[in-house]
């Protein structure tokens, strides 16, 4: 099945390839409704911060200090959301940072609001930051409202070419190839993309 994950992972890989040539950071996060409890704004942006920091030659002094300080607390404690946001603001001000978050609609609405507000304060402080988001269309107005200003948006749905490539790849994996003949294969490659693209009239192709 083709999902937004496929588009997100393509974008993330493309950015990672470029990041090797130009010096910038790429961090990703895939929201998942089956993991909603562990995907709070704090843990989501904590995971983003971890990826950004892992690309630095040296761990920033502030983070080292916070790490040492928290050892005094019983059982230790992680960074709080404002601290995570502050660290991301600082790092992304000196190094272009791409933050990619997939399937935002799978995030709990209360979490999503906080997450978007946090992203907004990162971008405001450090306009060189780039944020890539995917999600179902019903959260579009929420994203525009929360992030303020204009955002670039793009309707994404697989075009006919994508579907044919996808089907070809899956047919090649067929474990019972003897059941397939050329005419059945060409029927599949012709009829399925037609019916799918009919569902997406007006899509970006």
């Amino acid at each position: 099945m083709l999902t937004s994950h496929d588009f997100s992972s393509l974008v993330i890989d493309t950015l990672c390839d470029r990041a090797r040539e130009q010096d910038f950071a790429v961090a990703c996060f895939y929201c998942d409704f089956t993991a909603q409890n562990e995907q709070s704004p704090t843990s989501t942006l904590g995971a983003v911060l971890k990826q950004v920091v892992s690309g630095l030659k040296e761990i920033p002094e502030e983070i080292m200090q916070a790490f040492e300080d928290q050892k005094q607390a019983i059982g230790g404690r992680g960074l709080r959301l404002p601290e995570i946001v502050k660290n991301l603001q600082t790092i992304s001000s000196s190094r272009h940072t791409f933050i990619c978050i997939d399937s935002l609609d799978e995030c709990v609405p209360e979490h999503r609001v906080k997450l978007l507000d946090s992203l907004k304060s990162i971008i405001q402080k450090s306009p060189g930051t780039r944020v890539f988001l995917t999600g179902r269309s019903h959260i579009r107005s929420e994203i525009e409202k929360r992030l303020g200003g204009r955002i670039l948006s793009l309707l994404v749905s697989p075009n006919e070419d994508d579907i044919v490539k996808y089907l070809r790849a899956r047919l090649e994996e067929d474990t019972t190839p003897e059941a397939m003949d050329d005419s059945l294969e060409s029927d599949i490659l012709k009829s399925i993309p037609e019916s799918v693209s009919e569902m997406y009239v007006g899509g970006v192709i």
């Binding site: 099945m1 999902t3 994950h5 496929d6 588009f7 997100s8 992972s9 393509l10 974008v11 993330i12 493309t14 950015l15 470029r18 910038f24 961090a27 990703c28 895939y30 562990e38 843990s43 904590g46 995971a47 971890k50 990826q51 920091v53 983070i63 080292m64 790490f67 928290q70 399937s103 971008i123 306009p127 930051t129 780039r130 944020v131 890539f132 988001l133 995917t134 179902r136 269309s137 959260i139 579009r140 994203i143 200003g149 955002i151 670039l152 948006s153 793009l154 309707l155 994404v156 749905s157 697989p158 070419d161 994508d162 490539k165 089907l167 899956r170 399925i192 569902m199 997406y200 970006v204």
Partner: protein, 92 residues
Amino acid sequence: MSQNFSGNINSFNISNNFTTVDQRSEILAWLSPLEPRLRHQDIRTRRVDDVGDWLLQTDQFRNWCDVTGQDEFDKAVLFCYGNPGVGKTHMR
């Protein structure tokens, strides 16, 4: 026990001004126990080559991706929306 011992050797050999490899990974794990890059690896291995490449050629993507010019708040965010399960019923 042996792990502690080798950890001590490690921090002993390297100047205190630098984080050791162990300390570095300890701090990273402390920042977050989650591993979104593993999820990414999993998804990318199942991705079919070249599918969705057109997205990379769109004006929106190119414009968003370009960090060489002036920093503009207006193009900091690219939101790709759609029905994430396209072909759910067709492509089992």
